[in-house]
């Protein structure tokens, strides 16, 4: 069972409350595909991913970014039970999507970078960063859990 301090809960829900899934989702996914180009292997059907500009303008990337980012909402609302909340999602990524789970941490890092850019030093303090990264760690662990 993950133990969250009140400060951590507050930091996570506080950040999440100010994040627009429609804005940050596409940014984070595009960044993943540009900074870690091997991740493009999972998106062969998305059309033109041939350059950073193409990726950032690709409507399928944007749409999927919203889906992925939106998935975090259930984790934020179920901080004390992320593992169970994501059990089906983990199975999906393993058995149907066949995503190498090492990629989850790459996306988590891209999300963190996007959050840092949005919130700046006064809101994204070291303590807030700690809570946010702990949250993403828990999400990643839950997504890895059903792999066999």
């Amino acid at each position: 069972m993950v133990e969250w301090t009140d400060a951590e809960r507050s930091a996570i829900t506080g950040l999440w409350g100010k994040i627009s899934v429609d804005e940050m989702g596409p940014q984070a996914l595009a960044r993943l595909l540009i900074v870690f180009p091997w991740t493009q292997r999972y998106f062969a059907s998305f059309g033109n991913l041939s350059s950073p500009a193409a990726i950032m303008g690709n409507p399928k990337v944007a749409a999927h970014g919203k889906v992925v980012m939106g998935g975090l909402d259930r984790a934020v609302k179920n901080l004390d039970n992320v593992k169970a909340t994501y059990a089906q999602l983990s199975k999906l990524h393993s058995e149907k999507l066949h995503v190498d789970p090492d990629n989850f941490v790459l996306l988590a890092d891209c999300i963190t970078v996007c959050a840092a850019m949005k919130f700046g030093p006064s809101a994204f303090t070291p303590d807030v960063q700690e809570a946010w990264q702990k949250f993403l760690c828990v999400v990643v662990a839950a997504l890895r859990r059903q792999y066999h």
Partner: protein, 143 residues
């Protein structure tokens, strides 16, 4: 994943732009390293004050950042240029190289945070590649 000419040009241009804020960047990087990854505090047990923003953290953050800026200048020959730094880390500091990744991550986060308009995905990938090369060279002399 070696640096292309474009990576080097992008990296150099970006670091030239941000270097005037080296002190603030360094302080944020080290503060976050110590706060978000508390195991890194084990390397500073001889310091009086490890809290984010303390005088020792500010001073050492700048030292680390200046090392990175020096590496940017030596970007065309990192292996030879950083030889002394590699020996320092290998034989004297003996920092576990896993920590280089931690510092690199926080450098990326802080650069993104302080320069949101400039830290485009293209700059992000160039800087990430550059820092990976620096880490590799710093580990060179370990064994």
């Amino acid at each position: 994943m070696s640096l292309t000419a474009k990576d080097k040009a992008t990296g150099k241009a970006f670091f030239n732009k941000v270097s005037p804020m080296a002190e603030q960047i360094g302080e944020e990087v080290l503060s976050r390293t110590l706060t978000v990854y508390p195991q890194t505090k084990t390397y500073f047990s001889h310091w009086k004050d490890l809290t984010a923003g303390s005088a020792q953290v500010r001073k050492h953050g700048l030292t680390v950042l200046q090392g990175v800026l020096r590496a940017v200048e030596l970007i065309d020959n990192l292996k030879e240029g950083l030889l002394n730094l590699s020996e320092l880390h290998a034989f004297i500091l003996r920092v576990d190289p896993a920590n280089f990744k931690i510092i690199s991550h926080n450098i990326l986060v802080v650069l993104a945070m302080l320069f949101p308009d400039d830290f485009t995905p293209e700059v992000h990938v160039a800087v990430d590649k550059f820092l990976s090369q620096v880490n590799l060279v710093l580990s060179e002399k370990y064994r």
